[in-house]
Amino acid sequence: MNHIALKMLMGDKGKYLGIVMGLTFASLIMTQQPAIFLGIMSRTYSFIADVGLPDIWVMDPKVQFVDDIKPLQDTELYRVRGISGVQWAMPMYKGLLKARLTDGRFQTCNVVGLDDATLIGGPPVMLEGKIDDLRRSDSVIVDIDGARDKLGKPSPTVGGKPTPLKIGDSLELNDRRAIVVGIAKVSRTFQSQPVVYTTYSRAKSYAPRERKLLSFVLVKAKKGQDLAELTRRIHETTGLAAYTQAEFKTLTFEYFIHNTGIPINFGTSVLLGFIVGAAIAGQTFYNFTLGNLLQFGVLKAMGTSNWTLLRMILLQAVLVGSIGYGLGVGLTAVFGFAMRHTILAFKFPWQLLLFSGAGVSLICVFAAIISILKVIRLEPAIVFKG
């Protein structure tokens, strides 16, 4: 009977395509929108992910997310270094500073100051130059996206693309000269500001005069040291907040989840996609069953059981669901691939496949149930009513 069910489904090409397209649309929306959402949310903690070497981040206890800088006194660095289980602890400055460009424009930059001696916390990938070049006077490393776009020199032609900043070019940070000695590849951040790396001491000279300028203390635990135990010890000894990298990412992620409208906006899109997809696919599938009611009646009159008819309808629903899901997910993947070099945030983990798969399954079950109920209640005597 499976063969008959499939032939019935595909016999009416228009309805068949209608159901598949409805499910494709639902699957696309339920995958693409969350993928963009996850992409945006992953940018909130991309800076933490880029700084891969330290095990623990130490900061002011009131810090709520990675860009919520509440500076510490430099002496806190030495206190952390003195705690047992700490292999090393390095300072990091992170702050938004205005850069004056060669054409006189100002651009806010995310300035990151690295420990002068070790340069720990530097950019993950150097495209041009070396990170050691930061030891040269007035040197900075800028990220490639910033260099190409916001920090770029104005185009000589009206409306043209800016000329990318390159090694040897200069800019001003708080009236102090900064020479570009390297171009780095960093993950895009949520605020999409250009990232400028320099040494900790130079960053302090760029920053406005303040009593406290230490943003984070980056800690490497000794081999075999339990990280949870060490974070607890740092907190108890210094009164500062200490998070593992994963905990700091979660803290940042949850801040954006709870304090921005992003989840609601994307959640609404996903929900609408689900509802519209369910409505289209459910209605079309139900209409398809209604259109075939006489055929189901004939099969019932000839001795087909309700259970067999139910299996036939489920098979039809599973087939259109699988095709629609595959097309939707495929289109999402194509979309993500096409957008990989653009500013658009896109993250497509395997869990998202399960999420949209569950959504499409729910739609198919819903569509199948309303159809099955109609067929089960069907009186086979309908076959003699013309």
């Binding site: 019935m8 016999g11 009416d12 055929q295 099969l299 087909t304 086979p380 005597a381």
Partner: protein, 229 residues
């Protein structure tokens, strides 16, 4: 010898919007094995209700209807399905072929319902299609066949699993005179034999001469049963 079908005091009432309509009002009818019985009468007289009860696709409210000695009303649902699948063939006014299946696939449906493998069922279906003169058209979809050809496919479908009872609802009313008579001739020729009974509901007076007996119905009653012999 027991009749193929025995209806005794069969009553069926429909509830249409709070109003009771008696479709069958104490029907008594015996149909013998090997007989071609026609049920005739004006629209709404209960013909279709009666063949629905005889075919086991509608339960009567009162009375008994035995088919080959089995009381379908008291049969379990599963047993009734199996009984229908094995013993009854259907021919409909509008053919009711599955439009997306070709002729052989349509004819093979009752065999598949009875558990036969598809390939084997289709092979047997092609053989039956040859008997009804459509051996060459087994791959055609219903939409590619004329009305008469579709009805011949429907007859092949009704016969393929060798049922003992074939019920036909207005099998010729969608066909022109000559095609209708050809279909009836075919039906009588290939379907009727001493181990099989045909019950045909019809308005079509042009085919009455194919019947062994004709039961005239009116207002839920059988008012006359006459032999054509």
């Amino acid at each position: 010898m027991n009749p193929a079908v025995r209806c005794q005091n069969v009553v069926k009432t429909y509830d249409t919007g709070g109003q009771k309509v008696t479709a069958l009002n104490g029907i008594n009818l015996d149909i013998a094995m090997g007989e071609l019985m026609m049920l005739v009468g004006p629209s709404g007289c209960g013909k279709t209700t009666l063949i629905s009860v005889i075919a086991g696709i509608l339960d009567q409210d009162d009375g008994s209807c035995e088919v080959f000695g089995e009381d379908l009303l008291n049969m379990r649902s599963r047993d009734k399905l199996n009984f229908r699948a094995r013993n009854i063939g259907f021919v409909f006014q509008a053919f009711n072929l599955l439009p997306s299946l070709n002729a052989a696939e349509n004819v093979s449906v009752p065999l598949i319902i009875n558990g036969m493998k598809r390939i084997e069922a289709e092979r047997k279906a092609i053989t039956i299609l040859e008997h009804v003169g459509l051996g060459e058209r087994w791959q055609s979809l219903p939409s590619q066949l004329s009305g008469g050809q579709q009805q011949r496919v429907a007859i092949a479908r009704a016969l393929v699993h060798s049922p003992r009872l074939i019920v036909c609802d207005e099998p010729t009313s969608a066909l022109d005179h000559e095609t209708g008579r050809n279909v009836m001739a075919l039906l009588k020729d290939v379907a009727l034999h001493k181990d099989r009974t045909l019950v045909i509901v019809t308005h079509d007076a042009r085919i009455f001469d194919f019947a062994d007996r004709i039961a005239e119905m009116d207002d839920g009653h059988i008012i006359k049963v006459k032999s054509t012999k």
